[in-house]
Protein backbone atom coordinates (compact mmCIF):
# COMPACT_ATOMS: atom_id res chain seq x y z
CA UNK A 1 0.00 0.00 0.00
CA UNK A 2 1.12 3.52 -0.73
CA UNK A 3 1.09 6.15 2.02
CA UNK A 4 -1.97 7.71 0.37
CA UNK A 5 -3.87 4.45 0.88
CA UNK A 6 -3.14 4.38 4.61
CA UNK A 7 -4.62 7.87 4.91
CA UNK A 8 -7.72 6.76 3.04
CA UNK A 9 -8.17 3.64 5.17
CA UNK A 10 -7.73 5.71 8.31
CA UNK A 11 -10.30 8.24 7.18
CA UNK A 12 -12.89 5.58 6.46
CA UNK A 13 -12.69 4.57 10.13
CA UNK A 14 -13.07 8.09 11.49
CA UNK A 15 -16.79 8.54 10.87
CA UNK A 16 -17.97 5.18 12.24
CA UNK A 17 -15.64 5.60 15.20
CA UNK A 18 -17.26 8.93 16.08
CA UNK A 19 -20.86 7.96 15.34
CA UNK A 20 -20.61 4.73 17.36
CA UNK A 21 -17.88 5.74 19.76
CA UNK A 22 -19.46 8.90 21.18
CA UNK A 23 -22.74 7.28 22.29
CA UNK A 24 -20.94 4.15 23.53
CA UNK A 25 -18.48 6.16 25.60
CA UNK A 26 -21.33 8.28 26.97
CA UNK A 27 -23.41 5.21 27.79
CA UNK A 28 -20.55 3.79 29.84
CA UNK A 29 -20.51 7.05 31.77
CA UNK A 30 -24.19 6.76 32.54
CA UNK A 31 -25.46 9.43 30.13
CA UNK A 32 -29.06 9.13 28.87
CA UNK A 33 -27.75 8.99 25.30
CA UNK A 34 -31.03 8.88 23.39
CA UNK A 35 -32.52 11.84 25.20
CA UNK A 36 -29.36 13.89 24.87
CA UNK A 37 -29.15 13.09 21.16
CA UNK A 38 -32.69 14.24 20.47
CA UNK A 39 -32.10 17.41 22.47
CA UNK A 40 -29.04 18.21 20.38
CA UNK A 41 -30.57 17.22 17.06
CA UNK A 42 -33.35 19.74 17.62
CA UNK A 43 -30.83 22.59 17.41
CA UNK A 44 -29.57 21.22 14.10
CA UNK A 45 -32.93 21.89 12.50
CA UNK A 46 -33.05 25.43 13.85
CA UNK A 47 -29.58 26.15 12.50
CA UNK A 48 -30.47 25.02 8.96
CA UNK A 49 -33.50 27.26 8.90
CA UNK A 50 -31.55 30.19 10.31
CA UNK A 51 -28.97 30.14 7.49
CA UNK A 52 -31.56 30.25 4.68
CA UNK A 53 -31.80 34.08 4.32
CA UNK A 54 -28.02 34.44 4.35
CA UNK A 55 -27.58 31.67 1.83
CA UNK A 56 -30.23 33.08 -0.50
CA UNK A 57 -28.73 36.58 -0.32
CA UNK A 58 -25.23 35.37 -1.10
CA UNK A 59 -25.99 32.73 -3.71
CA UNK A 60 -28.43 34.67 -5.84
CA UNK A 61 -26.05 37.63 -6.09
CA UNK A 62 -23.25 35.28 -7.14
CA UNK A 63 -25.52 33.58 -9.67
CA UNK A 64 -26.48 36.94 -11.22
CA UNK A 65 -22.85 37.99 -11.38
CA UNK A 66 -21.91 34.78 -13.19
CA UNK A 67 -24.87 34.85 -15.57
CA UNK A 68 -24.23 38.47 -16.62
CA UNK A 69 -20.96 37.62 -18.33
CA UNK A 70 -19.12 40.05 -16.06
CA UNK A 71 -16.37 37.46 -15.84
CA UNK A 72 -15.53 37.89 -19.53
CA UNK A 73 -15.09 41.63 -19.11
CA UNK A 74 -13.00 41.08 -16.00
CA UNK A 75 -10.81 38.57 -17.85
CA UNK A 76 -10.33 41.05 -20.67
CA UNK A 77 -9.24 43.74 -18.24
CA UNK A 78 -7.00 41.60 -16.06
CA UNK A 79 -5.21 39.42 -18.60
CA UNK A 80 -2.40 41.85 -19.48
CA UNK A 81 -1.47 42.08 -15.79
CA UNK A 82 -1.79 38.38 -15.10
CA UNK A 83 0.30 37.21 -18.03
CA UNK A 84 3.22 39.02 -16.40
CA UNK A 85 3.16 36.73 -13.38
CA UNK A 86 3.00 33.71 -15.67
CA UNK A 87 -0.68 33.00 -15.17
CA UNK A 88 -2.36 31.51 -18.25
CA UNK A 89 -5.46 33.38 -19.45
CA UNK A 90 -7.54 30.20 -19.22
CA UNK A 91 -6.89 30.02 -15.50
CA UNK A 92 -8.51 33.35 -14.68
CA UNK A 93 -12.13 32.11 -14.54
CA UNK A 94 -10.99 29.49 -12.03
CA UNK A 95 -9.32 32.10 -9.84
CA UNK A 96 -12.41 34.33 -9.88
CA UNK A 97 -15.07 31.64 -9.47
CA UNK A 98 -13.33 29.54 -6.83
CA UNK A 99 -14.24 31.75 -3.84
CA UNK A 100 -17.78 32.16 -5.20
CA UNK A 101 -19.08 28.67 -5.92
CA UNK A 102 -17.86 25.12 -5.44
CA UNK A 103 -19.89 23.51 -8.20
CA UNK A 104 -19.02 26.30 -10.65
CA UNK A 105 -15.29 26.00 -10.06
CA UNK A 106 -15.55 22.21 -10.26
CA UNK A 107 -17.12 22.59 -13.69
CA UNK A 108 -14.30 24.91 -14.76
CA UNK A 109 -11.71 22.37 -13.63
CA UNK A 110 -13.51 19.63 -15.58
CA UNK A 111 -13.61 21.86 -18.65
CA UNK A 112 -9.89 22.66 -18.45
CA UNK A 113 -9.01 18.96 -18.09
CA UNK A 114 -11.19 18.17 -21.11
CA UNK A 115 -9.66 20.91 -23.25
CA UNK A 116 -6.00 20.65 -22.32
CA UNK A 117 -5.62 17.22 -20.68
CA UNK A 118 -4.97 16.50 -17.02
CA UNK A 119 -1.20 16.73 -17.45
CA UNK A 120 -1.24 20.28 -18.88
CA UNK A 121 0.20 22.93 -16.53
CA UNK A 122 -3.00 24.98 -16.67
CA UNK A 123 -5.08 21.99 -15.53
CA UNK A 124 -2.66 21.20 -12.73
CA UNK A 125 -2.66 24.84 -11.63
CA UNK A 126 -6.46 24.81 -11.61
CA UNK A 127 -6.52 21.56 -9.61
CA UNK A 128 -4.08 23.03 -7.10
CA UNK A 129 -6.21 26.16 -6.73
CA UNK A 130 -9.34 24.06 -6.36
CA UNK A 131 -7.73 21.79 -3.80
CA UNK A 132 -6.07 24.41 -1.67
CA UNK A 133 -8.65 27.19 -1.47
CA UNK A 134 -12.27 27.28 -0.38
CA UNK A 135 -15.59 28.79 -1.43
CA UNK A 136 -15.03 31.71 0.93
CA UNK A 137 -18.31 33.52 0.14
CA UNK A 138 -20.34 30.40 0.85
CA UNK A 139 -18.50 29.67 4.09
CA UNK A 140 -18.93 33.28 5.24
CA UNK A 141 -22.66 33.18 4.47
CA UNK A 142 -23.28 29.86 6.18
CA UNK A 143 -21.05 30.30 9.24
CA UNK A 144 -22.12 33.83 10.10
CA UNK A 145 -25.69 33.14 9.05
CA UNK A 146 -25.87 30.33 11.57
CA UNK A 147 -25.39 32.83 14.41
CA UNK A 148 -27.18 35.81 12.82
CA UNK A 149 -24.05 37.93 12.53
CA UNK A 150 -24.26 40.73 9.99
CA UNK A 151 -21.15 42.77 10.78
CA UNK A 152 -18.39 40.42 9.70
CA UNK A 153 -15.45 42.86 10.07
CA UNK A 154 -12.34 41.56 8.29
CA UNK A 155 -13.57 37.98 7.74
CA UNK A 156 -14.17 38.31 4.01
CA UNK A 157 -11.04 40.40 3.37
CA UNK A 158 -8.81 37.87 5.12
CA UNK A 159 -10.50 34.90 3.45
CA UNK A 160 -10.13 36.45 0.00
CA UNK A 161 -6.52 37.38 0.71
CA UNK A 162 -5.79 33.74 1.55
CA UNK A 163 -7.54 32.68 -1.67
CA UNK A 164 -5.60 35.21 -3.72
CA UNK A 165 -2.29 34.10 -2.25
CA UNK A 166 -3.35 30.52 -2.96
CA UNK A 167 -3.81 31.34 -6.64
CA UNK A 168 -0.40 33.02 -6.91
CA UNK A 169 1.29 30.17 -5.03
CA UNK A 170 -0.40 27.54 -7.18
CA UNK A 171 0.78 29.28 -10.36
CA UNK A 172 4.29 29.57 -8.99
CA UNK A 173 4.51 26.03 -7.57
CA UNK A 174 3.25 24.33 -10.74
CA UNK A 175 5.05 26.73 -13.08
CA UNK A 176 8.45 26.65 -11.44
CA UNK A 177 8.81 24.07 -8.69
CA UNK A 178 6.73 21.03 -9.70
CA UNK A 179 6.97 21.43 -13.45
Amino acid sequence: MEPMDYVKVFSSFVLPAIIVGFPLFALCRGVRVYEEFVQGAKTGFETSVRIIPYLVAMLFAIAMFRASGAMDYLALALNPILSRVGMPADLLPMAIVRPLTGSGSGAILADLVKRFGADAPVSRMAATIYGSTETTFYVVAVYFGAVNIRKIRHALAVGLLADFMGVLLAVWLIGHVFR
Binding site: V49, A67, L169
Partner: protein, 304 residues
Protein backbone atom coordinates in the same frame (compact mmCIF):
# COMPACT_ATOMS: atom_id res chain seq x y z
CA UNK B 1 -17.47 45.62 3.41
CA UNK B 2 -19.90 42.81 2.71
CA UNK B 3 -22.56 45.43 1.96
CA UNK B 4 -20.43 46.97 -0.78
CA UNK B 5 -19.32 43.67 -2.27
CA UNK B 6 -22.86 42.35 -2.33
CA UNK B 7 -24.38 45.46 -3.85
CA UNK B 8 -21.38 45.71 -6.16
CA UNK B 9 -22.02 42.23 -7.53
CA UNK B 10 -25.63 43.12 -8.30
CA UNK B 11 -24.78 46.45 -9.93
CA UNK B 12 -21.91 44.96 -11.95
CA UNK B 13 -24.15 42.09 -13.04
CA UNK B 14 -26.83 44.51 -14.23
CA UNK B 15 -24.30 46.77 -15.93
CA UNK B 16 -22.50 43.98 -17.75
CA UNK B 17 -25.76 42.36 -18.84
CA UNK B 18 -27.07 45.66 -20.18
CA UNK B 19 -23.77 46.40 -21.93
CA UNK B 20 -23.73 42.98 -23.59
CA UNK B 21 -27.35 43.26 -24.67
CA UNK B 22 -26.94 46.72 -26.15
CA UNK B 23 -23.80 45.65 -27.96
CA UNK B 24 -25.71 42.61 -29.29
CA UNK B 25 -28.46 44.89 -30.58
CA UNK B 26 -25.92 47.25 -32.07
CA UNK B 27 -23.98 44.50 -33.80
CA UNK B 28 -27.25 42.71 -34.62
CA UNK B 29 -25.82 39.45 -33.27
CA UNK B 30 -29.15 37.68 -33.69
CA UNK B 31 -30.05 39.26 -37.08
CA UNK B 32 -33.51 40.26 -35.89
CA UNK B 33 -35.86 40.83 -38.80
CA UNK B 34 -33.59 39.15 -41.34
CA UNK B 35 -34.25 35.74 -42.86
CA UNK B 36 -31.75 32.85 -42.84
CA UNK B 37 -31.55 31.02 -46.22
CA UNK B 38 -32.33 27.31 -45.85
CA UNK B 39 -33.52 24.37 -47.89
CA UNK B 40 -36.78 22.81 -46.79
CA UNK B 41 -37.28 19.19 -47.82
CA UNK B 42 -40.97 18.32 -47.60
CA UNK B 43 -42.22 14.90 -46.59
CA UNK B 44 -45.80 13.59 -46.63
CA UNK B 45 -47.92 15.27 -43.96
CA UNK B 46 -46.44 18.14 -41.97
CA UNK B 47 -42.97 16.60 -41.55
CA UNK B 48 -40.02 18.39 -43.11
CA UNK B 49 -36.24 18.34 -42.99
CA UNK B 50 -34.47 21.67 -42.64
CA UNK B 51 -31.05 21.85 -44.26
CA UNK B 52 -28.85 24.79 -43.34
CA UNK B 53 -25.79 25.16 -45.58
CA UNK B 54 -22.66 26.01 -43.52
CA UNK B 55 -21.69 28.66 -46.07
CA UNK B 56 -25.09 30.36 -45.73
CA UNK B 57 -24.89 30.17 -41.97
CA UNK B 58 -21.45 31.77 -41.89
CA UNK B 59 -22.51 34.46 -44.32
CA UNK B 60 -25.66 35.20 -42.34
CA UNK B 61 -24.30 35.24 -38.78
CA UNK B 62 -20.73 36.15 -39.62
CA UNK B 63 -19.31 33.15 -37.82
CA UNK B 64 -18.85 29.46 -38.36
CA UNK B 65 -21.17 26.97 -36.76
CA UNK B 66 -21.14 23.21 -36.38
CA UNK B 67 -24.37 22.22 -38.10
CA UNK B 68 -26.05 18.85 -38.47
CA UNK B 69 -26.75 17.60 -42.00
CA UNK B 70 -30.43 18.32 -41.48
CA UNK B 71 -32.90 19.08 -38.69
CA UNK B 72 -36.28 17.33 -38.62
CA UNK B 73 -39.23 19.59 -37.99
CA UNK B 74 -42.86 20.28 -38.76
CA UNK B 75 -44.34 22.80 -41.19
CA UNK B 76 -47.86 24.03 -40.62
CA UNK B 77 -49.42 27.00 -42.45
CA UNK B 78 -46.13 28.79 -43.05
CA UNK B 79 -44.90 28.23 -39.49
CA UNK B 80 -41.89 25.95 -39.19
CA UNK B 81 -40.85 24.30 -35.94
CA UNK B 82 -37.54 22.50 -35.64
CA UNK B 83 -34.40 21.96 -33.57
CA UNK B 84 -35.98 20.07 -30.68
CA UNK B 85 -33.17 18.58 -28.59
CA UNK B 86 -30.66 19.13 -31.39
CA UNK B 87 -27.17 20.51 -30.79
CA UNK B 88 -27.39 23.93 -32.43
CA UNK B 89 -24.45 26.31 -32.87
CA UNK B 90 -24.49 29.80 -31.37
CA UNK B 91 -26.27 32.14 -31.88
CA UNK B 92 -28.96 29.79 -33.20
CA UNK B 93 -29.09 27.95 -29.86
CA UNK B 94 -29.89 31.20 -28.08
CA UNK B 95 -32.62 31.92 -30.61
CA UNK B 96 -34.19 28.60 -29.69
CA UNK B 97 -33.82 28.96 -25.90
CA UNK B 98 -35.01 32.54 -25.99
CA UNK B 99 -38.68 31.72 -26.54
CA UNK B 100 -38.61 29.39 -23.56
CA UNK B 101 -39.83 26.56 -25.74
CA UNK B 102 -37.97 23.41 -26.66
CA UNK B 103 -37.85 24.14 -30.40
CA UNK B 104 -37.39 27.03 -32.78
CA UNK B 105 -40.52 28.59 -34.23
CA UNK B 106 -39.88 30.44 -37.49
CA UNK B 107 -41.91 31.91 -40.32
CA UNK B 108 -41.06 30.62 -43.79
CA UNK B 109 -40.32 33.42 -46.23
CA UNK B 110 -40.37 32.80 -50.00
CA UNK B 111 -40.19 29.06 -49.36
CA UNK B 112 -36.39 29.25 -48.97
CA UNK B 113 -35.56 31.25 -45.88
CA UNK B 114 -36.58 31.47 -42.23
CA UNK B 115 -37.53 34.49 -40.20
CA UNK B 116 -36.99 33.87 -36.48
CA UNK B 117 -38.64 35.61 -33.59
CA UNK B 118 -36.64 38.69 -32.63
CA UNK B 119 -34.20 38.14 -29.77
CA UNK B 120 -33.48 41.07 -27.48
CA UNK B 121 -31.97 41.56 -24.01
CA UNK B 122 -30.84 37.97 -23.56
CA UNK B 123 -28.46 38.70 -20.68
CA UNK B 124 -30.93 40.82 -18.72
CA UNK B 125 -33.35 37.91 -18.76
CA UNK B 126 -30.53 35.51 -17.94
CA UNK B 127 -29.58 37.36 -14.75
CA UNK B 128 -33.16 37.50 -13.50
CA UNK B 129 -33.57 33.80 -14.21
CA UNK B 130 -30.29 33.06 -12.45
CA UNK B 131 -31.40 35.02 -9.39
CA UNK B 132 -34.73 33.19 -9.16
CA UNK B 133 -33.27 29.76 -9.84
CA UNK B 134 -30.44 30.21 -7.35
CA UNK B 135 -32.71 31.40 -4.56
CA UNK B 136 -34.51 28.07 -4.90
CA UNK B 137 -31.22 26.22 -4.90
CA UNK B 138 -30.10 28.05 -1.76
CA UNK B 139 -33.12 26.80 0.14
CA UNK B 140 -32.52 23.29 -1.17
CA UNK B 141 -28.95 23.45 0.09
CA UNK B 142 -30.11 24.57 3.53
CA UNK B 143 -32.79 21.87 3.61
CA UNK B 144 -30.20 19.29 2.60
CA UNK B 145 -28.17 20.31 5.63
CA UNK B 146 -30.97 19.62 8.13
CA UNK B 147 -30.34 15.90 8.44
CA UNK B 148 -26.57 16.00 8.83
CA UNK B 149 -26.78 19.02 11.09
CA UNK B 150 -29.25 17.25 13.36
CA UNK B 151 -27.10 14.11 13.42
CA UNK B 152 -23.92 15.94 14.36
CA UNK B 153 -25.57 18.30 16.80
CA UNK B 154 -27.01 15.25 18.55
CA UNK B 155 -23.65 13.50 18.71
CA UNK B 156 -21.95 16.61 20.05
CA UNK B 157 -24.60 16.94 22.74
CA UNK B 158 -23.88 13.37 23.80
CA UNK B 159 -20.13 13.99 23.81
CA UNK B 160 -20.66 17.11 25.87
CA UNK B 161 -22.81 15.32 28.41
CA UNK B 162 -20.26 12.53 28.71
CA UNK B 163 -17.39 14.94 29.33
CA UNK B 164 -15.71 13.82 26.13
CA UNK B 165 -15.33 17.37 24.86
CA UNK B 166 -13.45 18.34 28.02
CA UNK B 167 -10.87 15.66 27.19
CA UNK B 168 -10.48 16.93 23.61
CA UNK B 169 -10.07 20.46 24.93
CA UNK B 170 -7.27 19.37 27.26
CA UNK B 171 -5.38 17.72 24.39
CA UNK B 172 -5.80 20.54 21.88
CA UNK B 173 -5.48 23.51 24.24
CA UNK B 174 -1.71 23.96 23.67
CA UNK B 175 -2.17 24.20 19.87
CA UNK B 176 -5.46 26.04 19.56
CA UNK B 177 -5.19 28.15 22.70
CA UNK B 178 -2.75 30.71 21.26
CA UNK B 179 -4.84 31.05 18.08
CA UNK B 180 -7.98 31.75 20.08
CA UNK B 181 -6.81 33.90 22.99
CA UNK B 182 -10.35 35.11 23.70
CA UNK B 183 -11.79 31.67 24.44
CA UNK B 184 -11.53 30.90 28.17
CA UNK B 185 -9.26 27.99 29.05
CA UNK B 186 -11.07 24.68 28.99
CA UNK B 187 -14.16 26.03 27.15
CA UNK B 188 -15.98 23.37 25.09
CA UNK B 189 -15.84 25.58 21.99
CA UNK B 190 -12.19 24.60 21.61
CA UNK B 191 -13.17 20.94 21.37
CA UNK B 192 -15.74 21.58 18.66
CA UNK B 193 -13.21 23.67 16.75
CA UNK B 194 -10.65 20.87 17.04
CA UNK B 195 -13.16 18.31 15.74
CA UNK B 196 -14.22 20.68 12.96
CA UNK B 197 -10.66 21.23 11.76
CA UNK B 198 -9.90 17.50 11.98
CA UNK B 199 -12.94 16.78 9.84
CA UNK B 200 -11.69 19.33 7.30
CA UNK B 201 -8.24 17.76 7.14
CA UNK B 202 -9.70 14.28 6.72
CA UNK B 203 -11.91 15.45 3.87
CA UNK B 204 -15.12 14.81 5.83
CA UNK B 205 -16.97 17.80 4.44
CA UNK B 206 -20.34 16.45 5.59
CA UNK B 207 -19.19 16.35 9.19
CA UNK B 208 -17.13 19.52 8.98
CA UNK B 209 -19.90 22.04 8.36
CA UNK B 210 -22.18 20.97 11.26
CA UNK B 211 -19.22 20.94 13.63
CA UNK B 212 -18.14 24.37 12.40
CA UNK B 213 -21.64 25.78 12.86
CA UNK B 214 -21.81 24.29 16.34
CA UNK B 215 -18.48 25.97 17.14
CA UNK B 216 -19.86 29.27 15.82
CA UNK B 217 -22.85 28.95 18.14
CA UNK B 218 -20.56 28.33 21.11
CA UNK B 219 -18.44 31.32 20.15
CA UNK B 220 -21.60 33.42 19.84
CA UNK B 221 -22.37 32.66 23.48
CA UNK B 222 -19.06 34.29 24.38
CA UNK B 223 -19.77 37.27 22.13
CA UNK B 224 -20.88 40.48 23.88
CA UNK B 225 -22.10 42.08 20.59
CA UNK B 226 -24.46 39.61 19.02
CA UNK B 227 -24.45 41.16 15.53
CA UNK B 228 -20.67 41.57 15.19
CA UNK B 229 -18.08 38.91 14.47
CA UNK B 230 -15.42 38.27 17.12
CA UNK B 231 -11.73 37.66 16.45
CA UNK B 232 -12.23 34.01 17.39
CA UNK B 233 -15.01 33.57 14.82
CA UNK B 234 -12.90 35.05 12.07
CA UNK B 235 -9.97 32.85 13.08
CA UNK B 236 -12.22 29.80 12.94
CA UNK B 237 -13.38 30.82 9.47
CA UNK B 238 -9.83 31.31 8.22
CA UNK B 239 -8.62 27.99 9.63
CA UNK B 240 -11.64 26.34 8.06
CA UNK B 241 -11.04 27.66 4.58
CA UNK B 242 -7.36 26.76 4.80
CA UNK B 243 -7.57 23.37 6.51
CA UNK B 244 -4.88 21.22 4.91
CA UNK B 245 -6.65 18.52 2.87
CA UNK B 246 -4.59 15.44 3.76
CA UNK B 247 -7.42 13.35 2.41
CA UNK B 248 -7.99 14.96 -0.96
CA UNK B 249 -11.27 16.34 -2.21
CA UNK B 250 -13.12 13.75 -4.31
CA UNK B 251 -13.74 16.37 -7.02
CA UNK B 252 -10.05 16.91 -7.72
CA UNK B 253 -9.43 13.16 -7.65
CA UNK B 254 -12.26 12.51 -10.06
CA UNK B 255 -11.22 15.12 -12.64
CA UNK B 256 -7.45 14.73 -12.46
CA UNK B 257 -7.32 10.92 -12.40
CA UNK B 258 -3.79 9.54 -12.25
CA UNK B 259 -2.38 13.05 -12.65
CA UNK B 260 -3.58 13.73 -9.13
CA UNK B 261 -0.24 12.48 -7.80
CA UNK B 262 1.46 15.47 -9.45
CA UNK B 263 -0.70 18.00 -7.61
CA UNK B 264 -1.07 16.38 -4.18
CA UNK B 265 2.14 17.84 -2.73
CA UNK B 266 1.59 21.28 -4.32
CA UNK B 267 -1.92 21.37 -2.83
CA UNK B 268 -0.61 20.54 0.65
CA UNK B 269 2.17 23.13 0.41
CA UNK B 270 -0.13 25.76 -1.06
CA UNK B 271 -2.77 25.25 1.63
CA UNK B 272 -0.18 25.33 4.40
CA UNK B 273 1.14 28.67 3.13
CA UNK B 274 -2.40 30.04 2.80
CA UNK B 275 -3.11 28.97 6.38
CA UNK B 276 -0.06 30.81 7.69
CA UNK B 277 -0.87 33.91 5.63
CA UNK B 278 -4.52 33.75 6.65
CA UNK B 279 -3.78 33.42 10.38
CA UNK B 280 -1.27 36.28 10.31
CA UNK B 281 -3.62 38.45 8.26
CA UNK B 282 -6.52 37.74 10.60
CA UNK B 283 -4.41 38.65 13.63
CA UNK B 284 -3.09 41.85 12.03
CA UNK B 285 -6.31 42.99 10.33
CA UNK B 286 -8.16 42.67 13.64
CA UNK B 287 -6.03 45.53 14.92
CA UNK B 288 -6.64 47.88 11.98
CA UNK B 289 -8.72 50.90 12.97
CA UNK B 290 -11.45 50.03 10.46
CA UNK B 291 -11.91 46.51 11.85
CA UNK B 292 -11.07 46.97 15.52
CA UNK B 293 -13.82 46.23 18.00
CA UNK B 294 -14.99 49.22 19.98
CA UNK B 295 -14.02 48.62 23.59
CA UNK B 296 -16.97 47.82 25.80
CA UNK B 297 -17.17 48.63 29.48
CA UNK B 298 -17.39 44.91 30.21
CA UNK B 299 -14.18 44.10 28.40
CA UNK B 300 -12.07 46.99 29.60
CA UNK B 301 -8.98 46.27 31.60
CA UNK B 302 -8.29 43.16 29.53
CA UNK B 303 -4.68 42.97 28.31
CA UNK B 304 -4.49 42.93 24.53
Amino acid sequence: MLNYIWAGMLVIAFGCALLTDISDLHKSTYRNGQALPVTIVQHPGHDVDVVIAPADYQHFYGKEGKLAASYPGTLDAGTLKFGKGAALPQPLATVRDWAGESEITARVVNNNSLLFQPVRFVKLNAISNAAIEMSKTAVEIAMGLIGVLALWSGLIKIAEAAGLLAIVVKITQPILGPLFPDIPKGHPALATIALNLTAGMLGLGNAGTPLGLKAMEQLQELNPRKDTATDAMIMLLVLNTTAIPFVPSPTVLAYMGIQFTTVYVPIIMCTACCAVIGVLAAKLAGRLPMYRLQPEPLLEGKVA
